[in-house]
Chain length 127, copies 2
């Protein structure tokens, strides 16, 4: 029952923000790839596997390239339309390491919340 009852109006529950960028960097660190396949691979990190949003993903890839975190080249001789294949740069790997540190810290903050919420519900139950 919980989780989706507040999607409209105020306080819609949803996805974690600022998470797409590190996930794309990690996927490209694992192996070079193009946007269309990356959309599917993002499912591992909880992004909607069936109906991902191409616009958001391609835009993020272009932004990362603008700042030199990834680089791209057009793949030739493949089937279907031309594919822009991205690979991570050294700067991108350094940024990925930063994201890893930051996400670790943020997880700690959320764990503190989850512990306190648990304590709150236990206390409520004993009233």
């Amino acid at each position: 029952m919980h989780g989706h009852q507040h999607e409209h109006g105020c306080c819609h529950g949803g996805r974690p923000e600022r998470f797409l960028e590190p996930c794309l960097l990690l996927l490209l660190a694992q192996q070079p790839d193009h946007g269309y396949t990356l959309m599917e691979r993002l499912g591992v990190y909880g992004f909607p596997a069936e109906r991902p949003d191409p616009g958001t993903i391609y835009r993020m890839l272009r932004k990362l390239e603008q700042f030199g975190m990834i680089r791209s080249s057009w793949q030739e001789g493949a089937s279907g339309p031309a594919k822009r294949v991205y690979e991570i740069t050294e700067d991108g790997k350094s940024l990925l390491a930063s994201w890893n540190d930051m996400l670790k810290r943020n997880v700690e903050r959320v764990h503190q919340f989850l512990r306190d919420y648990e304590a709150f519900t236990v206390k409520e139950h004993t009233l």
Copy 2:
């Protein structure tokens, strides 16, 4: 070295987003309080304890009140300027439960990322 080197320009690492709302709800579930004190209590969840942003916090409180998640009354007879004391409503408790569920799911997503990043660095090291 990591963690703050990309604060400017692209890809600034920083705080988790959409985290202020659940934290305020949890703090008010623990006990009714007014904005000025809540600012300090937010330090438990990693918000900057010395120099929090009043604007963001008061605005979020007003939004939560607009949607009936908390309610407020002016506290009389206290020292200093008038204080608007907030308390959580039943709807607010329900929303808080939703946030708890969602944050649990999101933590799982981040854990997947952290595991994969660890595996990536191990692999890089053995090359």
